[in-house]
Amino acid sequence: MNEKVLLRNIDTPGSHNLAAYQTAGGYRSVASALADFTPGELIELVKTAGLRGRGGAGFPTGVKWGFVPRDSGKPVYLCCNADEAEPGTFKDRALMENDPHMVIEGILIAAYAIGATTTYVYIRGEYTVSIERMEAAIAEAYSNGLLGENILNSGFSHDVHVHRGAGAYICGEETALLESIEGRRAQPKFKPPFPAVSGLYGFPTVINNVETLSCLPHIVERGADWFNSIGPERSPGPKLYCVSGLVRKPGLYELPMGTSLRELLDEHAGGPRSGRLKAVIPGGVSAPMIPANDIDIGMDFDSLAAAGSMLGSAGVIVLDDTACIVRVALRIMEFFNHESCGKCTPCREGNAWAAKVLRRLEAGRGQREDLDQLAFLCDGIFGNSFCALGDAAAWSLGAALKHFRDEFERHINDGKCPYH
């Protein structure tokens, strides 16, 4: 299947305008959802479709919606997580820049399903075009009766606000995102309570990723069976893959879930730049790298998890044989060190020390004990950090050490980086 679903409008001139979206059939799904479905039926539909969250964790969307208490008497909030900050990831940006109305339509369907009155779209601050396009599209939707009071005469009302992030990776973590919207310091909060029960301002809140929400109009239009038939049984649906790094044709590819990593690289992305692959990071820098020999693997949640990595945000970073793994590990650890929120001991202290050691190693001033030190840091951080940020840092570094220990040793033995 190479039919474009999420990217079907992307090549249409002016695709970000309401007129273009409606010409292509846009907003019919939400009309159908409001007219033909009860909220409960929508939740069932999405459960049956098997849609799993595209933000990285892959949690079943319908199940998440089902956690929102019914008739609690409290307002319910929907947050659209558009803080796409995982290095190597640019799928949500493409959707918001080119098809913002599809995102809004997805928001409306989700909001109706969970009974939300208000949505906050939390967009990464650097995404200036996304912010402009989303704000313009929201204004268009308001003036055409697609947002606000009594949408499409359904009796359902909904407001959408854009919240612009100020540049911290941690804001993509859902509880930190909520803290940030509330105007507090963005740090993850302890769960339970889960946001579905006590989230934004203490009220039930669902946080869904842009791509997840964008799948909804298509599920409503074409049915759960259609969605379910794409890709593997437990991770179905169309999927956006962001391919970058040392690769001949970097870019955004829409392919079914479960497409093999080798197919994605060789048949679609033109293969590694030098022609000789060293490793692939399959799901943004939080995902452990996979050595070249292991790329016959399905790009879906379960297959990658079984292989000790993860689909994450599907930010596929290609490393050919000119890449220095120590430098890659350093670059990644510099990122996590910079983005650690500072809340918990292992992530705050551990990432900083790992970066210090890697800087020395890459500069050719490493010692044999440094590898033990790095291994200790990976052990000390992994599983002990408050949120997934620290785990991701340790996991990524651990994979580099496991698969490419020889490169680290060469840096120590040679007293310099063999690649630079």
Binding site: I170, C344, T345, R348, N351, K356, E369, G380, F386
Partner: protein, 840 residues
Amino acid sequence: MANITIDGIELEVPDGTLILEAARSLDIDVPTFCYQKRFAPLASCRMCLVSVENSPKMQPACATPVADGMVVHTASEQVAQTRQSMLELLLANHPLDCPVCDKGGECELQDMVFKYGAGTSRFRDEKRVFRSRDLSLNQVIIFNANRCIQCQRCVRMCEDVVGAVALGTIEKGMDSEITGFENSLTGCDHCGNCIEVCPVGALMSQPYRYKARPWDLVETETTCSFCGTGCQLTVSTREGQLARVKSKYETGVNGETLCVKGRFGIDFINSENRIETPWARRSGALEPVSWDEAYELMRHRLGQPDQIEGHRIGGLASAHLTNETLYLFQKMLRTVFRTNNIDSSSRWVSGVYDVLPGLVGDLYTRQSLENTVSADAIFAIGSNITDDNPVTDYLLRSKVRQHGNKLFLASVRPSRLDADAQAHLRLLPGDEAIMISAVAEMVSSSPEKEPPPAAAPFAEFTRKIASTLKASNTSSVSVLVGMEILRATNAGQALQWLERLLRNLQQAGKQVSLQFLFDRCNQFGAWEMGVQPNHLPGWRRPGDVRVSEVWQAQLPPEPGVDVHEMLQRCANGTTSCLYLLGSDPVSTYPDRSLVEKAMSSAGFVIAQASHHSETTQLADIILPGAAFGEETGTMTNNEGRMQLSREFRPPIGNARRNSDILNQIAEVLGHKLSGSKLEDTFAEIAQLVPSLEGMSLADIGDEGLLCTSQGQTEDGQFKELPLPSRVDRSWNSNGKLTLVTGESRFHASYVTEHSATLSSISSQAYVEIADTVCQELGLKTGELVTLRSPHGETTLQVKTNRQFPPGLAFVPENFARQRLNELFKNGEYSSPVDIIPNEV
């Protein structure tokens, strides 16, 4: 209930119990840095990670509630390894400058590494250094960022408990640093609770800096001598000298918190104004004399004991003194001087003593403040609690934020607690009575009565509070009563209506409790000890047979007069002798011209005090008494809890313990007052104060002594009470402001003016006015104005306040040299004032 297993021990705990609490209940040590009971769990330090069977990851014990069937391991190799790893990571950047760190020897990080840490570190790279010199954040707080371990206890204390939100965190990750705006805390409360909860030497006390090593200190547990909250303090001395004041985790009504006054103000005992020897007026001038000379002079002036004319004598004692001292004082006045002219406060109006018994009996809380503030609804009237009883403010804020119980505030001045209240009301002194009467009527009627017309300005507030108090899910109500009420001319009426409100609630099936918010640490004790004209110890009426029996003395049968009448009588020549024990009416009495006239007209003024004051300068005899910490005795706090105030050094110079002085004077005059031991005096008190029946001094344990009330319950037949009327404020329409006074954030009564540390934070009085009024007058904070009332004027700095009602002017009463009482007149609180900008 949940059945769980920790380290092989099975136990049953209530649902929602944290693993940490369950483990600690078994005396299993689970180490923590970021956890403190008072704060919502943060789970950030990761020291408390424990293994939970069938859980993929280790769980933070401080934040994870138990689940039925849970099996927890706290002593496994994995847990031990993790603790060691966390400590190795924390030490990686820690400077390890323990030899020059004030915290060395009592540092949680040191102790934790000693117990759980590795002997060596793998890390050899350079440590992070924020700055090489410590940063002075204000007069009392100094900061070393390099030592900080980011537990955020200080930040949470400042935000969630103190409510100041002065401390926060800047930057992120390894660069995270706690600090105030622009690296300064000069605008904060200076309470030092951030220092108290800092586990390491990051936040430190400036006054204590480099003074001592912890192991060289002698610690004395005692009770704070400022307000009525009755916080427990640990006073540390080194070689007899005061080194610092600390609070202890989970100890006393205050737990680990204190206010700036309690933590930094105790150095008032070291003031140069201390009186070190007796003085006597000879040929018009005061000169130092020996104790024998002083006593001899007293005997000479007072005449033969059997000739003493009780009605010509009056006594006024400070409610800062211990129960035993106060008890002996009133006993001496009643038995030796044969008078009931006794009082304990100069700031309040007449007419409250008659109505007090109904409030201090069965209605009075006599339970922990923690319980009092846990009521479903809390109604606090007549206090800026943030300034009057800061630690009570902390407890209220913490409780209301965590449990969502409902707080209502009605006060003259705005306070920080307003933000946490369901509703707050600004009123002027004297309007409390009408407001309370409206609520009392509304809660007793069904369907709900409209507030009476006179209470119309408070209608919205009274409706809100009445509907909450009546609601079926409000089963307990606490009423907190501040000192503003006692200053107003119709205080007696307000208190009567307050009792009516509480009785009405009681009849409606609510569990009610009342607590006064005293600004003096032992005001409740002073009342109970009989330091009042209408009641003997234990609220007994004059003529009480039991008292005569115990004292074996003939007692004056009629009630005495209060301070106002005493001063009037001095001024008109019918009273000739005043005995002032620790009180300074010349500075505090709200009518300067009357008190000065009284002092100069009285033939013989005895001032027994620890510090020189304007009052002592007008006395005929000055007797140097011990200050706080120089004598031991009991104090009764707002809860009605008796606690010990302990001696941590002997009285300075030739000063003597106050009870010794009283015993000696009685002896000189041919009487024996009591046994010389504290235990004897306490035993005698226990014979007369019903709530202490059968108690001895030894019954006052670490948590003090909370006696249940012996008070009588009313029979339910309520007398008709006249409806109060509004106080005349017609001056407000003439552009005049209403001048009020009270406690300020950094000072307590007139005592802390003698504290060098508090004076370095706040050294002079100011007038606080609404910002809108300041704009009209073209005034900015810091500019000088003259305040003119019909009775006098004074010049001070302006402080603008956006929360202030436009008709109000506030001047703190903490600065004797401001002579604020020149602006007030007896029986007229408050005063109209003009604000006159000074010419530049």
